[in-house]
Amino acid sequence: MNPNDNTTYTTKPSSETLDKFAAELDALKRRTFAKVGTKDARYIRRLIAFQRGLDITSRIVIALGLLAFSGSTAFVIACIGTLGLASAKILDNMEIGHNVMHGQYDWMNDPYINSRKFDWDIAADSNSWKRYHNHEHHTYTNVIGKDRDFGYGLLRLSDDIPWKRKNLWQLLTYLNLSFLFEWGVAYHELAGERIFFGKRRAESSLPISRNALRTAFFKKAGRQIFKDYILFPLLFWPVALPVLICNIAANIIRNLWTSSIIFCGHFTEGAHTFSEADIKNESKGGWYYRQILGSSNIEGSKFFHVMSGHLSCQIEHHLFPDIPAPHYREMKSHVRAICKTHGIPYNTGRFSKQYFEVVKRVLSYSLPNNQSDPVPMREI
């Protein structure tokens, strides 16, 4: 199957097709939910235990390596520890935090492993993230003007967004965003609400006061800075500086990985955008259809899927955001088959291919009115 099925497809299916399509996806959802149980509960608890262990072991490895050895041995051990710490953070943020906070494990009735209580090892306040991610981004995926995740207000990734001079160097902006991704995620809602800069929005659905939003931001950011950049370095005082550097490096590795995976999920060449008019009176099938057109998958091993929090199955995640993510792997082939019967595109490919497309897209929209679009970017 040609991974870029979407290049051959331009018109929106009829509403009857979409209804049938929705019924088949709903049936798949029901079948999968029926399988959810003990195995999933054990999986998430074991994974959390492993992540906690990896986190603390890596921190100790870094410190001991630096304290007990010198020269290149110390450097190699510190690098291994840093990779371990970065992996622990990636697991915490993606396969655990992102998925638990989506409510994928709320059915367990666990007092802590649920979307309301869980907190993650990242600068972003979990409540703020849940507000804009679960609601805005997942309901209005790739709707220009509604889904602020589309380009994060920094990048122009579609001709629907007016060109500005700053878009000329947006590849650099993108690289910056990747390096500092956790701060982008943390600041996202505050930027939208113009908490520090800009004109206050006329309409806001912010359910807490602006002051509370600001306080939550500083509280969480402060706690993360204290933990990674003050507490742990000072705990291993004689090697405080190299420990600090390792912690910064681990956070950056995590930032680069998470942002790359996420960009591949929505900003590949084939990922469509929509206007607010497109989503007026949208049917269930229409919603499913839009989720598929706006998302793209990445092929990979089980390890790769886990390390990406199954956001490599971005399409399945957007169709069924609250099904425990490990089930996306088995759902993929079914979703793809359903799409094929109804002639609906399904965008998937290797990581390198998808990432190359993202960079290409960032570059191509750096210039005003890009006419050389390989794919129609808007569904009418």
Partner: protein, 362 residues
């Protein structure tokens, strides 16, 4: 009310840290559940046709259980990965705990339930269960005067604990009317007869023969003018009838009662269901649910629950249902009675319900 089974109050920071590490601790001690106590099942006994008694001993002998006879406790089990909690009355006496270190829970099997049939099939001596939160206001008040007890079916369990915890001198002033379908299948008869031998005035009324509770019947079996306080436990209808009769001679504040049994979805929802709501800062309110989604109805009543997409996608409106049954409007699935996380935008009440919600702050 004193939640005495809770562990010592922890500071929030320690609770957060323990919750963070709970899955790690569970690798070596799978029974470690933060804020729960582990109990070993020592005996399982069948009482009558559909009640099972579980005798439980604390696994951690440093963690002392305290309870006042008549109180209930939350029992939690994990069924297919889901943690399900139900509240059961303690049916054993205070002395049983003091002298022998056990409590007993007597559980009526609800055939359409998820937890009680599972318990009766799966819990065997040697298994471990988790308890938390001993609570309840339905407790015995010592008095020199005559007191009346009315129990229907499994509603006897808290009263049995109260009576077995009394001294013989006190028992002589107490009267128990026990309503059962038929004496041959009724549970706890031997224990009651032992109490009767010690001075309790016991009347077992078989509804098969004598019919349900009426004023004449009550007068015939008990000296209503002498009784100064009453304790009633049974289904809602039983409590309502008893209250109407008893309030002629007993002050309303001295009629203690506890509702028993699974609240069932009513088919006639014209009158609506009572929904009790508390928010995270402890503010309480009530409303009547008439078939809309809980999110809409809470908003109509002037509350401001947190919400997002209003379509079941974003989980922003997730709230804790403390008790009651709700129905998912997409799947039509009806929930169980116990504590659960629910999405307010997808649920409507199908019984009286109690909720803990998070409100918008602005």
């Amino acid at each position: 009310m004193n939640p005495t089974l809770e562990t010592r109050p922890k500071s929030q920071a320690i609770e957060v840290l323990l919750a963070h590490l709970e899955p790690v601790i569970q690798i070596s001690s799978p029974n470690f559940w933060l804020n729960y106590s582990v109990y070993l099942v020592t005996t399982v006994r069948q009482e009558g046709s559909n009640i099972t008694s579980y005798r439980l001993k604390a696994c951690n002998r440093f963690r002392k259980l305290h309870f006042t006879p008549g109180q209930h406790v939350c029992l939690a089990v994990e069924i297919n990965g889901r943690r399900l909690e139900r509240t059961f009355s303690i049916s054993s006496s205070h002395q049983a705990l003091q002298k022998h270190g056990y409590i007993e829970l007597s559980v009526k099997t609800q055939n359409d339930g998820k937890v009680t049939p599972w318990l009766s099939e799966n819990i065997k001596p040697g298994h471990k269960v988790h308890l938390r939160n001993v609570s309840g206001e339905f407790t015995y008040h010592t008095s020199d005067e005559e007191q009346l007890f009315l129990a229907a079916g499994s509603g006897l369990t808290p009263i049995l604990s109260m009576l077995e915890s009394r001294q013989t001198t006190e028992l002589k002033k107490l009267t128990l009317l026990y309503y059962v379908q038929s004496k041959t299948t009724a549970p706890f008869i031997d224990r009651l007869e032992k109490l009767a031998g010690e001075g309790l005035s016991l009347k077992i009324i078989e509804t098969q023969i004598s019919g349900r509770l009426t004023r004449e019947q009550l007068k015939q079996h008990a000296n209503l003018t002498k009784a100064r306080a009453a304790y009633v436990c049974g289904p809602a209808g039983f409590i309502a009838t008893s209250q109407t009769i008893l309030k002629d001679t007993i002050k309303p504040e001295r009629i203690h009662f506890e509702f028993f049994g699974l609240s069932t979805p009513k088919t006639n929802d014209e009158l609506g269901y009572a929904v009790e709501v508390s928010n995270s800062s402890g503010k309480q309110s009530r409303l009547t649910s008439t078939g809309g989604t809980l999110l809409d109805e809470l908003e109509e009543s002037g509350l401001k629950p947190l919400y997002g997409c209003r379509a079941g996608i974003c989980h922003q409106c997730t709230a804790t249902k403390l008790s009651g049954r709700v129905q998912n409007i997409l799947t039509n699935e009806v929930s169980e009675n116990g504590t659960e996380q629910i999405q307010l935008c997808l649920c409507k009440a199908v019984s009286d319900t109690s909720l803990l919600i998070t409100e918008r702050e602005a």
